[in-house]
Structure formats: structure tokens, C-alpha cells
């Protein structure tokens, strides 16, 4: 790689020791207080939801899938990018990976938690959510495995378990590093327990390396299977605007698109907050910018293909749904998605913009918002005008929809901030290895 400048040992130590001598306690405390406020909002919204039932949400017949599913798909999509970016860059041997993977994987982990909570919360009786799991019971009943809902249960479960395992295995050597470097007894004990007794034997390292690469390869496969599983939730039914075989790849591109956007935002924030200009360099921004542009264009192709399919099918209901999307009651969500997703994106053709982490983050915010509107457009415009005029209706998000959404961002943010405070945000041993190798290559 052109810009892999070797870092000094002291610099690497300083970066991996961030949790031990945290440089910005006040800014962190303020951010964490904000996250806790959102978490409080979550607690209130969930209490109201449990007390009064799902009627507090705006979704009703015919738009039975409102915010819970819109946000579920949005969060899950953000998660995919963390897995893909980490696993693909590992398998392709891109050295810039070592600065990006840890926080991208952590983003995945907490985004999947948020995604997993939504379907549970919008069940009428959330405390019985475990009924979707197959387990022997005295009622003698089993889940309906021909339904995409049960595929979805396994999709989220697989994603949660696998991304947690991948994340943890990757972090074990860093826990060991912190254990060896921690000054306080509490730090030594906690990081020591998390390191599971890792001592860096080359025999262990070889097995670790094999396992990590295998997990990465499996994780890439998993992203494809899981987007397929939940896009078939939509594609499997006869709803106009949903019933399309393009959905699995279309969802995958959209998911990764929104996730890369969030990675760009987090990268810019961490870079500024911890003065990591020598680690999260312009070359990293450039890499993310290129990926964002590429996936964005694939997503744009998905939009065009979707429109083309509707026109080419010549089906009355498909054409009507297309018409509704372009000029119906929710046309704002379609045009909002098109504008937020693809207009600022075009700036990324310029190398100067790609290398500017703040501009890249601004485009990332625009894309995250655009992709949310796209999810909204897909769900709502598919449902609000069905085949039968008698089942037409509208959807309006309620106060509690918004409160739960804001709260869910707290569910993402609070543990993410704890991660920033307590764990290495940059993979120390990989940084060290890449740096030593770069020094030798000179």
C-alpha cells in the first residue's frame, strides 16, 4: 500500500493504551450523558408500549409494517457493512484494514442488537418471542418453517452469535496487550479475564490466524444468506412493489451502502476526538469513499432495475405502485432517498473529496438518512395501496414510533461509547505488525 507509513513504537503504545489513560473524559462524559438520555427515552417508550400494547404505534391495517420493520431493516443493513468491511479487507490483505476493523465490527454488533430488538418489540406479546424458536414444549407445537418469519429468527440469531464471536476472537490479543500494560489492579484483572489467558504462543497464534480467517470467510457468506433471508420476507409475498427476485442483491447493496456511510461518520468522529490523523489517514478516507461510491452506484442500479421490472411486467398493480412511489402520498420518501443517496455521492468522484474525512462524513450522514427513507418508501408504498381499493389506507408514524426510534439510537450509542472508553478502538497488535512490516520493507 502506498501510504503505510511505519509508526513509532511509542505511538502504537499510546493508541492502544487509550482506554488506560483516557484523553477526553469530559467530552466522553457529555456524549455518554446524551446517550443515557436517549436510553431513558427508550425505557419510557418500551414501558408505554408494554403497558398499552402495539396500538401506540402508527402501523395498522393496511400498513401493518411501520417503523419497527423499517428500522429493523435499516439497523441490520448498517450492521452488514461492519462485517463485510472487516472480513473482505482481511481476506484481500488490504493493510488499511487494521485501523478500521475493530470499530466497524463493534458497530455491527450493536446495530444487530438494535435490529433484533425491533421485531420482538412489535410482537403483540413480546414476552413470548421465544415461541419463534423451535424447542420441545408441552403444547406439542413447532414453528412454521415455511414462513420467512422463522427464517428471520435464525437470521438475527446467527448474525448476533457470529458477529459477537468474530469480534471477540479478533480482540483477544488486544485484551492480552491491555492486561500486560494496565497499571491498576482492576484493569489487570478485568482485561486479564477477557484475554482468557492468551500469552501469544506462536502455536496458538497459528490456530488463531486460521480460525480468524475461516470466520471471516464464513461471515461474508453469512451476510449474503442473511440479506437473502430478510429480503425474502418482502419478496416472498404477492404485494405489488415487493414481489421481485431482485430483492436479495438490491437489499445487500443498500445495506452495505448505509453501513459504509455510518463507518465514514464514526471514522471522522474518532479521528478528530482522539487525534488519530496518523492512523486513520486520508488513505482510509479514500478507501471508504471509493467503496461508498461503488456500492452507491450498485444501489442506484437496483433502483433502476426495480423501476424497469415494474414497467416491463406491465402488471396493473405493479405500475400503480410505481406511480404511487413517484408521485403518491409518500413520494417524499422516494425522492428524498434518491436525492440524499445519490446527489452528494457524486462528489466522491473527486479524489480531493474522498480524502477529506469531514466531507466524507457529511456524505455519510446524507446516505444514512437517504437509506432510511428508502426503507420507509419500500415498506409503506408497498402496503398502503393494495390490490383492492377497499383495503387502501395511510400510515402516519406516532409519537411513540419516533420516541422508540430515538431511544433505539441510544441503545446503539450507549454501549458503543462504553466500547470507546474501555476497549481498544484500534486493533493494537495488527497495527504493530503492519508497522513493523512496513519498517522492514523500507
Amino acid at each position: 500500500m502506498t501510504e503505510a507509513r511505519p509508526l513509532s513504537r511509542e505511538r502504537i503504545d499510546a493508541v492502544t493504551d487509550l482506554p488506560l489513560g483516557f484523553p477526553a473524559p469530559r467530552a466522553w462524559a457529555l456524549s455518554f450523558a446524551f446517550a443515557l438520555l436517549l436510553l431513558l427515552c427508550f425505557a419510557i417508550a418500551v414501558t408505554v408500549l408494554f403497558w398499552r400494547g402495539v396500538g401506540v404505534f402508527g402501523n395498522n391495517i393496511p400498513v401493518a409494517w411501520g417503523f419497527p420493520i423499517v428500522n429493523y431493516i435499516w439497523f441490520l443493513g448498517i450492521g452488514h457493512a461492519g462485517t463485510l468491511i472487516s472480513a473482505l479487507l482481511l481476506l484481500t490483505g488490504v493493510t488499511q484494514r487494521n485501523a478500521l476493523n475493530r470499530f466497524a465490527e463493534t458497530m455491527t454488533l450493536f446495530a444487530v442488537v438494535c435490529a433484533g430488538l425491533y421485531p420482538i418489540l412489535h410482537l403483540g406479546r413480546p414476552w413470548l418471542f421465544y415461541w419463534t424458536a423451535p424447542y420441545p414444549n408441552t403444547m406439542g407445537i413447532w414453528p412454521q418453517f415455511k414462513s420467512p418469519l422463522s427464517w428471520d429468527f435464525f437470521a438475527v440469531l446467527t448474525y448476533l452469535v457470529a458477529s459477537a464471536a468474530f469480534w471477540y476472537v479478533g480482540a483477544i490479543p488486544d485484551f492480552a496487550r491491555l492486561r500486560d500494560r494496565a497499571k491498576s489492579r482492576l484493569g489487570q484483572v478485568c482485561y486479564g479475564l477477557a484475554a482468557l489467558g492468551w500469552r501469544g504462543s506462536m502455536r496458538h497464534w497459528r490456530r488463531w490466524e486460521q480460525a480468524y480467517r475461516l470466520c471471516a470467510g464464513l461471515a461474508v457468506t453469512m451476510v449474503f444468506i442473511i440479506t437473502a433471508a430478510y429480503s425474502l420476507l418482502l419478496g416472498g409475498g404477492p404485494i405489488p412493489g415487493w414481489h421481485s427476485s431482485i430483492f436479495p442483491p438490491y437489499f445487500l447493496c443498500g445495506a452495505v451502502f448505509s453501513g459504509f456511510a455510518v463507518v465514514a461518520v464514526i471514522m471522522a468522529v474518532l479521528r478528530r476526538a482522539f487525534r488519530l490523523d496518523d492512523i486513520l489517514t486520508d488513505a482510509h478516507s479514500n478507501l471508504i469513499g471509493k467503496l461508498l461510491l461503488a456500492v452507491g452506484l450498485m444501489t442506484a442500479y437496483g433502483y433502476l432495475a426495480d423501476i424497469f421490472n415494474a414497467l416491463y411486467s406491465g402488471e396493473q398493480s405493479e405500475l400503480e405502485t410505481l406511480h404511487d412511489r413517484l408521485s403518491g402520498a409518500y413520494a417524499w420518501s422516494f425522492w428524498g432517498a434518491v436525492i440524499c443517496n445519490f446527489v452528494p455521492l457524486q462528489l466522491l468522484w473527486l479524489r480531493r473529496v474522498r480524502r477529506n474525512s469531514l466531507l466524507l462524513a457529511a456524505i455519510g450522514v446524507s446516505v444514512a438518512a437517504g437509506m432510511w427513507m428508502e426503507r420507509y418508501m419500500l415498506i409503506v408504498t408497498g402496503l398502503y395501496r393494495d390490490h383492492l381499493v377497499s383495503s387502501w389506507g395511510t400510515f402516519q408514524a406516532s409519537l411513540w414510533d419516533w420516541a422508540l426510534f430515538a431511544g433505539m439510537i441510544g441503545v446503539f450509542l450507549a454501549p458503543f461509547l462504553l466500547f470507546v472508553r474501555l476497549l481498544p478502538i484500534i486493533s493494537g497488535f495488527e497495527l504493530k505488525k503492519a508497522s513493523e512490516e512496513a519498517r522492514h520493507a523500507r
Partner: protein, 184 residues
């Protein structure tokens, strides 16, 4: 075993190096001296050193494969059994329709393969462990240094000559690692 056998008091001899350079050839030198029970600790993976240690096996790959097959069978099995034990008529489709089966089968296969890979790695490294005699190396810091270890159980281990052999390699530090005292 006589009480003055060195491995009665010592766990290993450890030589610390700043980087991984030359460790592979050092290992070859030690092998020429007859040492067999060698290990290297380090802050990151070096395939060159691992090769010099002969630390190559594919057991993790096989464990992962086994996990994948186990998951696939479990995922498929539970679906087939559920359809058999609790048959549902979904729009007149056959009880054992194959079309919906691959998704959960693949999902569970991937999950199980990853879990097997992780647990298999830990168990094959005999981790987790609360303590290990390697941590008794004076000023132990495997996050900064590479260490060559010669176990005291090695036939050629000698409290006088072994440290000299290690010093001759140009190690920064050489130390005999005592066995931790057994709790009485």
C-alpha cells in the same frame, strides 16, 4: 526422579528479543544443540517462526468443517422433524417442501461453524486459563517482546548451559523461569 532434576524447580529458560527478525534461524541453531521442546511467544503472528517451530496443523479447518456439517444437519433436521411432528397445511403445499429448507440450514451451518472454530481454537490451545508458568518470565510482556522458550522438561535442558546457549543468540534478556510454587 531425583529431586535435583532441573525441571523440579524450573519451568523453562526464556530469551527476550525486540523483534521477530532472526528468530527462525535461532530456533534452527537451538535444534542443532539438540533442544526439542521449544516455543516462541510474541505480540503478533509470524508465519516464518510458526513454520520453524513446526506448528502447522489443519485441525482448526477440520473442526470448522465439522461445525458446519453439524449445523447443517441440525438445521435441516429440526425443520424436517417439525414438519413431520406438527404438519401444517400451508396453501396445500406438501409437508416436506424443499424450497424453504436451505435458508435455515445454511444459517445454522454458518453459525455453528463459527462457534466451533472459536471454541475449537480456544480448547486446542488449552484456553481459557487463569494462569500459566510462562507468565512467570521476569518483566513478562508478550505485547512488546518476542520470547524463545526452552522447556525444562527438554532432555538437554541444563540450568548452566542453556542460558549460555540463549545468550549466544544475542538475546536482550535471558532468564530462568521458576515454577510457580504450589499452593500449600
Amino acid at each position: 526422579m531425583p529431586a535435583d532434576r532441573p525441571d523440579a524447580h524450573y519451568h523453562a529458560a526464556a530469551a527476550g528479543f525486540a523483534g521477530p527478525e532472526g528468530l527462525a534461524s535461532h530456533l534452527a541453531t537451538l535444534r542443532q544443540h539438540g533442544y526439542r521442546k521449544l516455543d516462541v511467544l510474541g505480540p503478533y503472528f509470524s508465519s516464518e517462526i510458526a513454520d520453524a517451530l513446526d506448528a502447522g496443523d489443519n485441525r482448526i479447518a477440520w473442526i470448522t468443517l465439522a461445525g458446519g456439517l453439524f449445523g447443517a444437519l441440525a438445521g435441516l433436521g429440526v425443520q424436517l422433524y417439525a414438519n413431520y411432528a406438527y404438519p401444517l397445511n400451508i396453501g396445500g403445499r406438501p409437508v416436506f417442501a424443499w424450497q424453504p429448507l436451505p435458508i435455515i440450514t445454511l444459517e445454522v451451518a454458518v453459525m455453528s461453524a463459527i462457534v466451533f472454530a472459536v471454541i475449537g481454537t480456544l480448547l486446542s490451545c488449552r484456553l481459557p486459563k487463569l494462569h500459566h508458568p510462562d507468565f512467570e518470565i521476569p518483566d513478562f510482556s508478550a505485547s512488546d517482546r518476542f520470547y524463545i522458550l526452552i522447556r525444562a522438561s527438554d532432555e538437554h535442558f541444563d540450568t548452566a548451559r542453556t542460558p549460555d546457549h540463549l545468550k549466544n543468540l544475542g538475546a536482550e534478556t535471558v532468564a530462568l523461569v521458576p515454577l510457580p510454587e504450589a499452593p500449600s
